[in-house]
């Protein structure tokens, strides 16, 4: 299976006003028909949350792919063990960078929503908030990985937490089929792209986006997504930074 992957970020209004750059990041790779992707949201309360999001999102796809040379396993235990190894390696790598700068891992606090998928299906893996959502080729709803928050919506879990492994959640993704889509959304995007029942994509959002993306290459698609995320309506609905990754099976 081949994948066409689109990704964009936009700085939310709060950070625009404070002159702070976007704290959301994403990264992905496609190898032998296997897609590995991640979107990370840096904690505003951490000293280098945005940087942490950038590091995790950049390092993660390669480490995860290395654990799954023949694609995502069907068994959750197997997938969880391998993902935990990959995330542990990335955490170690980021901790080493932190130590070199008199910082600690928690200073790079960020959430993580990721996926590994092939034509056979795969897994969302998730620590903290944001959404993973998939949809079949005919628009039929697929998997959804919802945010995990503390008592309050502004408290969440971070991949840098000591107890991160307790909050690592896996959700199976069914085989996407050509035209199927897998989305990773930071919590600044979900309020306008996920339906009210929190059951999947808001179709009037996704359908026109997919129709447009079908006719453009990745560079043009990324630009259009960035424009959409930075639009007035999106800024009004959520003051948060925004990151959206859409992988379309072709």
């Amino acid at each position: 299976m081949a994948w066409k992957v689109f990704f964009a970020t936009a700085t939310g209004r709060t950070h625009q006003q404070d002159g702070v750059p976007c704290q959301d990041s994403g990264g992905y790779l496609v190898r032998d028909g296997i897609l590995v992707a991640s979107v990370c949201d840096g904690a505003g309360s951490a000293r280098a949350g945005g940087e942490g999001a950038g590091l995790f999102a950049a390092l993660l796809p390669e480490r995860v792919a290395a654990q799954f040379p023949s694609g995502p396993p069907a068994l959750e235990d197997e997938a969880r063990a391998a993902l935990a190894r990959a995330l542990g390696e990335v955490r170690d790598g980021v901790a080493t960078q932190a130590a070199g700068r008199d910082l600690v891992l928690a200073d790079f606090a960020c959430t993580l929503i990721g996926c590994i998928a092939s034509g056979e299906g795969g897994w969302f893996f998730h620590v903290g908030d944001g959404y993973g959502a998939s949809r079949g080729r005919g628009g039929e709803p697929g998997a959804i990985s919802r945010p995990e928050n503390g008592e309050f919506a502004d408290e969440t879990y971070f991949v840098t937490d000591e107890a991160w492994a307790d909050h690592l959640r896996l959700t199976p993704i069914s085989p996407p089929g050509r035209g199927g889509v897998i989305g990773l959304l930071s919590d600044g995007v979900a309020p306008f792209a996920i339906d009210r029942a929190r059951s999947g994509f808001f179709a009037p959002f996704l359908d026109p986006v997919l129709a447009y993306l079908a006719g453009v290459d990745e560079a043009a698609g990324n630009e259009a997504l960035a424009h959409l995320l930075a639009g007035e309506r999106a800024l009004e609905i959520s003051a948060d930074d925004k990151a959206l990754l859409l992988a379309i099976a072709t």
Binding site: G44, A153, D154, T156, Y212, L228, I237, A239
Partner: protein, 223 residues
């Protein structure tokens, strides 16, 4: 700009609410130096600033509690969405029943939270802002302990702010962060900062307090 995706509809599910209770000292000493007028002006500034931000206007939910008179605590109207908030006009006079007022604030928040949970509405950690220029004339120690415990349990974020000659040791007992002092009588700056804090959809790791903007526009730095 090219690359405009046509016909995209955006739903609005951003219904996380930010609860704010203002607990305001209206004791007799607030008449001095025009403090009560400055406080009223500050509240009007808060109203304007909250309404000026579409997210804060929709997500913010405000309750004002005043205390003064004959050790009386007054709830100035109902909980109000920020977009509908009208700053009340406060009048100063009488005692400083600060303990009862804070007890009322804690109760109001728990009540409001249970209503929201029942309605399936998510909320951020509520903020109680306590402003006082004196010291309590009622029993305050037990409710101060409760406030600190509620903070430790992440149920609320208490900001205790002293005006002028306020007893900062007592005010500081209401928050694990201690109390800050308003520099001069910068009520306007304080309320602009507060509205910015409500705006900031700031997120904090589990167990940590929510990070807010620097307070140097209004807070008196310790010397």
């Amino acid at each position: 700009m090219s690359h405009v995706i046509p016909d995209v509809a955006l739903i609005d599910n951003s219904d996380e609410r930010a609860l704010l209770v203002l607990v305001l000292d209206c004791s007799g000493s607030m008449l001095d130096e025009g403090k009560i007028e400055l406080l009223n002006d500050g509240l009007k500034t808060l109203e304007v600033e909250l309404k000026a931000d579409p997210v804060a206007a929709r997500c913010g939910r405000v309750l004002v509690i005043s205390f003064g008179g004959d050790n009386s605590v007054e709830r100035m109207g109902e909980w109000t969405d920020a977009m509908d908030f009208t700053a009340p006009t406060l009048h100063a006079g009488g005692m400083t029943p600060l303990g009862s007022a804070m007890r009322g604030a804690l109760d109001e928040i728990e009540e409001q939270k249970s209503q929201m949970r029942a309605a399936g509405v998510t909320y951020k950690r509520p903020i109680i802002m306590l402003l006082s220029d004196g010291e309590p004339t009622d029993d305050w120690r037990m409710v101060a302990d409760e406030c600190r415990n509620a903070e430790t349990a992440h149920r609320v974020n208490v900001m205790a702010i002293g005006i002028g000659q306020a007893n900062r040791d007592i005010l500081g007992a209401f928050s694990n962060k201690g109390a800050l002092n308003l520099a001069g009588l910068r009520f306007k700056e304080l309320f602009i900062w507060l509205s910015r804090s409500i705006r900031a959809v700031s997120r904090a790791p589990t167990g940590a307090t929510v990070q807010l903007n620097p307070v140097d526009s209004w807070a008196q730095m310790q010397t």
